[in-house]
Symmetry: C2
């Protein structure tokens, strides 16, 4: 199966292309505006041009090789269209329509037909029942939704079971100014599922982290294997802890599955999980951009105790550890700040002060610490310790995350300077604590390897022994 | 004790006023720039003017009545300064310095001295060990932190055990464009604690919701009583679930206390709790501005199933219920949208469509529903159902919350129009689900009263029987 034809096409046929702006077959064409390959609008009952391109009656009439068909026709017509595409030698298709495995016996029959055709011809079929995909770096928008074509190129690849969640994640990155390397809504997963998408984007040059939104799949073991095998960090968001079974099944034709079993599977295969779309994107941005942690030990330095307590509490509850600092570190901190408020971990300086950056550096340099979280509300007379952090990131290869806030106009330059150093900055103590907890869990699962491939054979055996391999 | 002198002063003495910009005694003076009462800079070793005001040698030398002393001197000097203030007839003081109950036996002695003086003279003393307070609507900034004077007036009153958390909350509202009616950092709570602050701001005209940040207090029962007695909705954020005891005690001189006991106490006294600063502020904004829910039953309408599953799952796990809709409602929805994707609660329309607003209205009008959550990703060709919501809010007195996202430039006008109707809009499914879950918990605790006072005698008995009244 040629997944490259799906995600890296040079020519595209839009089947069901339409002049009516409210139709998916119109919006898909509009969204292909930035695509620099060839686009064929296909519609047997239309003539003339649309958006500067000549209508074609069917895919069979196209002389050139077409890589990808974007199929924007109603469900009952889809099986025949897929047959025609296969006959025309098209390697890949996206099917937007719902009315398949998620919609009762008749829909299941339809889905079985397209799976059979696709399998026979080794077609990569995304969907049905999806809003499609977007590769911002290639100007390739294979989605009908309006606005996603505006999402800029970034390092995170979103692979979501739900097209709606994929789009929600895409708009969140647009709002945060981050962007995506790719956004894929899998929908009913005819022949392209999690394993194929993960493998493809693991090799994708623009991708530095992969995030998964998972409701449930009958290929759980392959999903876990693909995630573990990937060189790119993978983070998963498994939804459906409470009973949303009937509603979920009506969605992409999959039960949400045994939630605890999924979480155990991710744990055993070394894939950290999160509990919200925001954590998923924050975690990917931090893991993708910066140094990867080699363990779960967090050093916290705070200039205000209250937010420090929130942070310490939240990290401890979410899989991070606050290790004791080395005696040498405590002595160094005491020398920098005689009479410091609290010199254990978290280190509490009581207030921002000129020596604050040196205290951060002392903690960051402690071998007991894998990840550093700094909390400091901005004070105008001091600013944030940008210069000290600049020298620190040159000598210490560990993730450093800042939680800070202040009047936006005053401190934005300092925040931008920290971000330029590769230090992520968040504006609430919980959001910073959540991303650091994710880093700690990643570090724990990485087992001290310092990043990169995390899989080990023992993981595999554990999975077998708990039955996850067959049940998930 | 005259708490009004603290929070509504007409004249203020700044003790420890300083010309050095890095000193608290300077920043406090700067931050009083918008205060329209009289300000006296007090410093025995300074002469001449500062910021256009004449230095005074001591509070005893001031002829006029002074309501409030902002005490910006180091801890060892504070007990004498408080004595002088009391002798000069000053009714209230804020003490910024640390080095009291949170700092060992010597500090405890100091705090005991000031509490004794304050009690003898019925002085309202905020702190020590606090960054102070701000009343944006009165242009009154009694904090030394830079930037908080920019926070605009809003409806939420923040009462935080930690001055740092108070400021973090204030900056978050500034960032969100919401503002505060008041921000109070209690610190070590010499004579002004949660009960006094809650009672004062319950009567404050600009306050429509009160939020509490609680680490631990030896006046837990009074805190609960004051919260229950308040006409204003109160929401609490209790921190310290995991063991942060030693660090917390080093902070404001209080152990974080038995977390579960606190949560049970809040539950029994009808005070909903949250788990992050963002939930606290979102909840206050929604409860303060809009109709109050009369029960825990949430009707969810979604145009995309994936985010709908996230929302349904999260609400069910956080104290909300998704009730069955009335037969008449289901019939109405089926008439509006024949062949709808999923007509149970959550109602899933499969895509945005012109009739989406009518479906929302049908659910909102169902008597089984106390709170309405709408999830709809923006599609340019349709927009959000602003007109239908405009007529709906005129006939249905229930909280309606939107989760939506889209390319900011395109859909901001629709979002602003919804907000103008009193419909809060959030941009991630989880954030909307969290605030709706808070509304559901509030509705459950309100016990069908439809808002206003929520206390009942039975709550009191329950608290007695579990021993919360004595232990918290």
């Amino acid at each position: 199966m040629n997944v490259g034809s799906l995600f890296q096409p040079t020519s595209i046929a839009v089947v069901g292309a339409s002049r009516s702006p409210e139709k998916i077959g119109h919006q898909v064409l509009v969204n292909l505006g930035a695509f620099d390959g060839t686009v064929y609008p296909v519609n047997p009952s239309a003539e003339g041009e649309i958006l500067g391109r000549e209508f074609v009656g069917s895919t069979a009439e196209i002389d050139d090789d077409v890589d990808l068909a974007l199929v924007a026709v109603p469900a009952p017509v889809v099986p025949d269209v897929i047959e025609e595409c296969a006959a025309a030698g098209i390697d890949a298709a996206v099917i937007y329509a719902g009315g398949f495995a998620e919609a009762g016996p008749e829909g299941e029959d339809r889905q079985n037909q397209i799976v059979e055709t696709a399998t026979d011809h080794e077609m990569a079929v995304l969907g049905p029942n999806t809003s499609g995909f977007v590769i911002p770096g290639d100007g390739l928008c294979g989605s009908f939704a309006s606005g996603v074509e505006e999402v800029p190129a970034g390092g995170t690849c979103v692979i979501a079971q739900s097209g709606g969640v994929a789009h929600s994640l895409a708009f969140q990155t647009l709002r945060e100014g981050r962007g995506l390397s790719a956004m894929v809504g899998l929908g009913n997963r005819a022949t392209v599922g999690f394993p194929e998408a993960i493998a493809h984007f693991d090799d994708h040059e623009g991708t530095d982290a992969i995030v998964l939104h998972v409701e449930g799949t009958d290929r759980g073991r392959e999903l876990l294997e693909a995630s573990r095998t990937a060189d790119t960090p993978v983070i998963a968001y498994k939804v459906g802890e409470s009973d949303v079974g009937a509603f979920a099944e009506s969605h992409t034709g999959a039960l949400t599955g045994d939630h605890e079993l999924y979480l155990a599977g991710f744990q055993q295969y070394g894939i950290p999980t999160v509990e919200s779309t925001q954590e998923l994107l924050d975690g990917a941005a931090v893991l993708g951009d910066g140094p990867r942690p080699s363990g779960p030990n967090v050093g916290v330095i705070t200039a205000q105790a209250g937010p420090g307590i929130i942070i310490a509490d939240r990290i401890q509850r979410s899989g991070g550890r606050l290790p004791e600092l080395a005696d040498a570190t405590s002595e160094e901190i005491a020398a920098i700040l005689p009479g410091i408020t609290y010199a254990e971990n978290p280190v509490d300086t009581g207030r921002p002060m000129p020596e604050f950056g040196d205290v951060v550096a002392a903690v960051a340099e402690d071998d007991a610490v894998d990840v550093v979280l700094v909390n400091e509300l901005y004070e105008e007379a001091l600013g944030l310790p940008v210069d000290r952090m600049r020298s620190l990131v040159e000598t210490v290869e560990k993730p450093i995350v800042f939680a800070t806030d202040g009047p936006p106009a005053d401190f934005e330059a300092d925040v931008a300077a920290l971000r330029d150093l590769g230090i992520p900055v968040f504006h609430s103590p919980e959001r910073a604590a959540d991303v650091v907890s994710l880093l700690a869990r990643y570090g724990a699962l990485a087992g001290g390897s310092g990043g990169g491939r995390r899989g080990t054979e023992t993981n595999d055996e554990t999975a077998e022994s708990t039955g996850v391999s067959t049940d998930v």
